[in-house]
């Protein structure tokens, strides 16, 4: 099985691409959060404006450094701006 990360999308991000979950292959040389965001922008150009204002989490923890490497099996989550209340 190809090593991959699970991508979960909420709100606008989910609506733009019409899916709440994706599986994304991790290349041999590894994959940083920044590289994954860039790859998502390339694959889904309409998602780019949302990604630019989103927060990102890995395994339920906010990422402060998008240079962090993602490991196969990780869950990467896209949080567009919040709208509670």
């Amino acid at each position: 099985m190809t090593p991959s990360v699970r991508v979960r999308l909420f709100a606008t991000a989910r609506l733009v691409i019409g899916r709440a979950r994706l599986s994304w292959s991790v290349p041999e040389q590894g994959l940083s959060a920044r590289e994954l965001v860039a790859a998502l922008e390339e694959a889904y150009p309409r998602l780019a404006p949302t990604l630019r204002v989103s927060r990102f989490l890995r395994n339920d923890h906010y990422l402060s450094d998008l240079g962090e490497a993602l490991s196969p099996g990780d869950e990467f989550v896209v949080h567009p701006p919040y709208g509670g209340g």
Binding site: F10, A11, L57, D60, Y62, Y82, G83, G84, G85
Partner: protein, 146 residues
Amino acid sequence: MVVRLTRRPLTVAAAERWLTVGPGGGVVVFAGRVRPDRRGASKVVALDYEVDRVPALVQLRAIERTARQRFRARGLLLWHRLGRVRAGELAVVVGASCTHRAEAFEAARYLIDELKTTVPIWKEERGSPARQPPRRRARPGGQSVG
């Protein structure tokens, strides 16, 4: 429960009961309702709320901890509805019980402001079907014209 994410209706009465058990002299409850705003010919009839539950609960508890220290709160609550919330229903209730009113007002303001900007909850509007403009009667054998 201080922090609650629920599909069940929220009431101010329940919040007041929760906050008046403790010794605080100033109790402030803020409730946010779904407004039946107009969107052109359509009207908002409900909001659908979704949450990323684990980070949302972590964040709500962090807000609670900070408020407890900053405002010396004796009691706090942060409650939010999930799923479909109809116009007129409460979507969010926050409250603070403090020794004096000034801290209670400030704490409640802090709770709702932080909740709206730092907790992963999103809403999507559900509208009534837009009313169609009345159809003009078509002329026999041709299109209706203005």
